[in-house]
């Protein structure tokens, strides 16, 4: 298994890192979001020759993040997903479903955490 490092970057660097990744011949592997307390971590993963390069930004729900769909055209699926599930605004998407990519009963269902009380593991 390959060692993996996720480099923290600022929101302002998202597009320049995407452009750099494309210049270096990387493909976009995925963009994913994780809610950590009141913040959201968004990880951009690129790959070339099976080597992953990952960048992490940390944002608040009201923050806006720029779309990288101008660099990687297929990024719109990930960005619409992040918007619909977490409620984070992505600006400049080439295909913007305006909140209808996923049809969920609860708006932005992944923006709340529902973990119950922390009992010990079964295999403690």
């Amino acid at each position: 298994m390959e060692p993996q490092v996720i480099l923290p970057i600022s929101v302002g660097d998202v597009i320049s890192k995407a452009e750099q990744a494309k210049r270096d011949g990387n493909r976009l592997v995925q963009i994913g979001c994780t809610k950590i307390d009141d913040t959201f971590e968004i990880i951009y993963v690129y790959e070339k020759d099976y080597q992953l390069t990952s960048y992490r930004i940390t944002v608040k729900q009201d923050d806006e993040i720029p779309s990288i769909s101008g660099v990687y055209w297929g990024a719109f699926v990930y960005e619409n997903e992040i918007h619909d599930l977490y409620g984070i605004h992505v600006t400049g998407m080439n295909v913007d479903f305006k909140g209808t990519f996923y049809k969920t009963t609860i708006k932005h269902p992944f923006s709340v955490t529902i973990t119950k009380e922390d009992n010990p593991c079964q295999n403690k």
Partner: protein, 359 residues
Amino acid sequence: MSKQITVPFGPQHPVLPEPLHLDLVLEDEKVVDVIPTIGYVHRGLEKLVEKREYTEYVYIAERICGICSFIHSQAYVQGIEQIMGLEIPERAQFLRTIWSEYSRLHSHLLWLGCFADSMGFESLFMNSWRLREHILDDLESTTGGRVIQGACKVGGVRRDITPEKLDEMVKGLKTLEGELRDLTDVFLNDRSIQHRLKGVGVLSKEDAYYFGAVGPTARGSGVAIDIRETGYAAFGKINFKPVVEQGGDCYARCAVRAKEMFTSLDIIEQCIRKIPDGPVDMKVTGAPDGEYFSRAEQPRGEVIHYIKGNGKKNLVRHRVRTPTFTNIPPLVTLLKGCQLADVPVIVLSIDPCIGCAER
């Protein structure tokens, strides 16, 4: 310029096994734009990590998809094991490899059948699914499940396969290989199939790479991405070469899947020849504390299970990027410029699994 009209395609359509909706913008019979819509079967399975302990969650991970369920569970437990620094027994790694190749075989046969059906080849559809039964029977007799195997667990696998059964599997697959050659001979050489598929839905190598195509969709366009080459499970100890075609059309994607079945047969045989004796699981204590992108090669391409834990019994995040999800943008590209009558064949040529994509 002709007048443009929009024709809805799906979510219910005779060739679609799962709900995908496409708004096809047409000029006469030519597709000039496509707007894809999913979201009909979004179940929010990833959210269940907050309710289920990480060891129990294996059962949910393998229910993400009913076709490549084993590889979902494999990718999930692999990620947990990586975070926890577990070196699972080698025999378990080989068993996982055998079952994952069986999954690929049954998925490709299922797809070949559906693809034949989309072209109106009913007998080819039935023959593909008849051969698939042999694979499902072996999966059932070795794991206990035809669709959901339930064989993977954190720390190894739940079942072993006896040497006698392994010998029996090799013999059975030898017989199957002959029948598969007859079947794929039709897919690869029949004149009317070639006429239906060649030059239809062409995806260039550059578009496949930068638009995010994976699996046979990428390899059919000359992009040699196959995560098995990273050597996860026992793939590092097996000799194989990814099947790559250069055509980029529906025929090339079909050829990749047809030829990959023989690679899978070879991998299974190598695994059975090389599988070491020993235990198939290990005791696991504690909970994962860290994060990892676990990758595996599903029948449709690279799947990624991102796992983040904080040392407690519930994971902080489990995010799955399935191959169909990332194959949607290339599909849009494939459809632009095609004829309306070719849309069903082109859509099926990426082997869409929407249940998997939406999780």
